[in-house]
Subunit: 223 residues, 2 copies
Amino acid sequence: MDTIAIIGGTGPQGKGLGYRFARGGHRVVLGSRTKERAEAAAEELRPRISGSGSVEGADNAEAAEIADLVVVAVPYDGHDALLAELGDQLAGKIVVNCVNPLGFDKAGPYGLDLGPTSAAEKAQALLPEAHVVGAFHHLSAVSLLSEADVLDHEDVLVCGDDVAAKARVLELAATITGKPGIDAGPLRLARHLEPLTAVLISINKRYRVRSGIAISGLTGGQR
Amino acid sequence: MDTIAIIGGTGPQGKGLGYRFARGGHRVVLGSRTKERAEAAAEELRPRISGSGSVEGADNAEAAEIADLVVVAVPYDGHDALLAELGDQLAGKIVVNCVNPLGFDKAGPYGLDLGPTSAAEKAQALLPEAHVVGAFHHLSAVSLLSEADVLDHEDVLVCGDDVAAKARVLELAATITGKPGIDAGPLRLARHLEPLTAVLISINKRYRVRSGIAISGLTGGQR
């Protein structure tokens, strides 16, 4: 059992990941700006958690402090400022960044042009003592929060420069999809994973579905 | 039966797409800098084409002139200059851009930082009278050139601003994957489709596979 904090744990993506990790037997601490909002989100999830997992609420700093693996699931707007504040709490920890820097206009969603960087790389620059891993960008909140046993038609793409941190996140992905995540390469490839979410949202709108990414060709069979 | 030209038809990706389209019953004109090189590539494919399809060689300008649907499969280096030369031949035509602007260094492949644009959008800017569609970025040349009947575990993501041109390319994708392509949205989303190829190449290297993209959730079943 790991203690996993979700910074931004009251948003749909953060709450959905927290639900899956608690269901998978982990101790989950949802973080939010105020402990009250986080407690409310935890209370909402708690009746749905059976087994050895648990979910509680805390403010973001406290959540980051308690956990040894911290998921960052905040909107991109404000992402840098929030992480800069949490430098002490996150030092030495595995920080899983699943932030998608997206814009929306009348032509639909698109990835923001950050130059040759990504939210994950910015997080690493702001948190030089943390081990930042990019993952969980493409799972829809609705699927995460559903009753579905495992989201086995989706793959979790994981990128990072710290081998041990990445290995732990690859394994954690199985809690959600029933199979390890896929090692997509170094952290800088988050530049290409993050904006891909704009493509999925665009497909969702066109086909009225909840689309996800699966990587084919890995086993020569259905995958 | 369509007449489909492949600009850059002697490279592995262009030749692979040409093979699939000819196998699917189309008349394919492989284009290259010189007619001789194109003819040689056509001759190499010809014994593998049965049925009503055909493959021939021409220089790039002639190939573009003959066809009404033109696939651009050239390296990104030189892409702009070549398209600028073909403005007259490509006016009014469907131009399918499958160019991936990638870089490689000791940390592996990565998408080049083009700013807020893509090879496909640059093609459209250079060819204002053509109907540019982005598609076929993620199919490996090895798979395309294999004997496999259909690449049915892969999806072709298609983006474009011209509805009719996009519809035609969505349908053409079925020649390769056995099912229509997926409408990913407007042409600008090529910014996110093109560099995704770097992620697939990175996965291929790590897992020694030929990976591809499949979109899950479209039918609620395996897809």
